[in-house]
Subunit: 229 residues, 2 copies
DNA sequence: TAGATTGTTAATCGATTAACAATC
DNA sequence: TAGATTGTTAATCGATTAACAATC
């Protein structure tokens, strides 16, 4: 299978990849072997031409009348999403949200494994949360280096977000999933996804208040992972 | 202040609004009165022309040499994000994630109030989580109607997501913040934001694996709320 | 005044969509 | 074969960016 350069894939397309992947896996688990662009489009409230265009970015080729081989499409998209490669992540900040993520099976299903959790609170250090050992912050840099961790989940109080982010980056982390509503100031080579939950809810409220409308189809595009169907 | 129609605001602009709002509030709390587009751009890793263009959508007008009055800009953006209007929301599914959201002060800071939580588990029903009473599912439709709730947070197991979504919509809910990784099949007049956490992490991993690069500035655009700075 | 910053108009860029030939 | 579906090329659409006049 010919693979295109990651950098050539349009960002909107890339954002739809995880959604395609979830659907492909769902259908695969139900025993389906083939899937057509129009089926995907129907399920996700997109247009089939867009699905075909997106899939073509991965280099996967379909068969007229049949569609795409689900297993091939999963492999192709997974490649671009880095699943299976960078599966080891760590989590800093074992508060409510941190605990919820440690227990969340969906991260596992996407091929990720939280290998360690960190906190400053002596009461949680040394305990296991959903099977994950909680370590003191002092061990953070060493563990990152030893295990070559590239991705960290940051679920700490706002004040601590920036200094901890600095430590993470110093130790070699290249991607941060930031749940604080602060804007982290990190080297531009580090990828940050800000998961500002308050902001997400505000966006939803805005759409509801002002009635985004039904048939303009834009409602289905709300949020990077959002489809109304 | 002249206000534009919500529907005329480009979706990418709308997605940046919550991020602007957070920054504006941060600066406002620090006693600042004015803010310039170039300052905002610097903080958020955007270009000042884009910030000005975005702000102009709200109808707020700035002053040459000074910038924008922070209080005015906050009011303008808040209007489009529906803050203060639809502040009452409810939450269904008091699991780990549900508890984390119930305790999250950021939702409050954005002007939202979770007025009630629901679950099927008899052990949690009747208890208070972070000050929020947990009710049995039977009371759901009645409470939605009586209080005129328009927005619901859905943090239930995957299997229950669709049937509960149906109940919510039947009772009058117009916006659903869906934390399951299923695609909800609801009337297109209902706005759904899918917060598929596994998918988000996959996207981050993809960017890290394939090195999104430093100076192409696209890294800073990752995710609807994502800026590398 | 001079300089900084806004707001507008036009140009550029890129994603989506349409049209249609190719193919199973 | 006929029909459905893919893949490609071109057209459209919309967002971003550039240029520059207006203004405090």
């Amino acid at each position: 299978m010919k693979l295109n350069s990651y950098i050539n894939i349009p960002l909107p397309t890339l954002k739809r990849f995880p959604v395609y992947l979830a659907l492909l896996k769902e259908c695969g688990e139900q025993g389906e072997e083939w899937i057509s662009a129009s089926y995907i489009a129907g399920r996700l409230n997109l247009k089939s031409i867009q699905v075909r265009k997106d899939l073509s970015c991965t280099g996967v080729v379909g068969k007229p009348k049949k569609g795409f081989l689900i297993s091939e499409a999963i492999d192709a998209i997974s490649f671009y999403l880095g699943e299976g490669n960078l599966s080891d992540v760590l989590l800093v900040g074992v508060g409510n949200l941190g605990k919820a993520l440690l227990a969340d099976k969906r991260l596992t299903r996407h091929g990720f494994k939280i290998v360690a959790a960190f906190d400053v609170d002596k009461d949680v250090i040394g305990t296991k949360i959903a099977g994950h050992m909680v370590y003191p912050m002092e061990k953070l840099p060493d563990l990152i280096k030893r295990m070559g961790i590239k991705i960290a989940i940051l679920t700490v109080p706002e004040k601590e977000a920036q200094p901890i982010a600095d430590k993470l980056v110093d130790a070699g982390v290249q991607g941060i999933w930031n749940f604080s509503s602060l804007f982290l100031d990190v080297d531009c080579s580090v990828t940050v996804i800000n998961e500002d939950l308050g902001a997400r809810l505000a966006l939803l409220a805005g759409r509801v208040t002002h009635g985004a409308g039904c048939d303009d189809a834009s409602a289905s595009k709300l949020g990077s992972l959002s489809f109304s169907k």
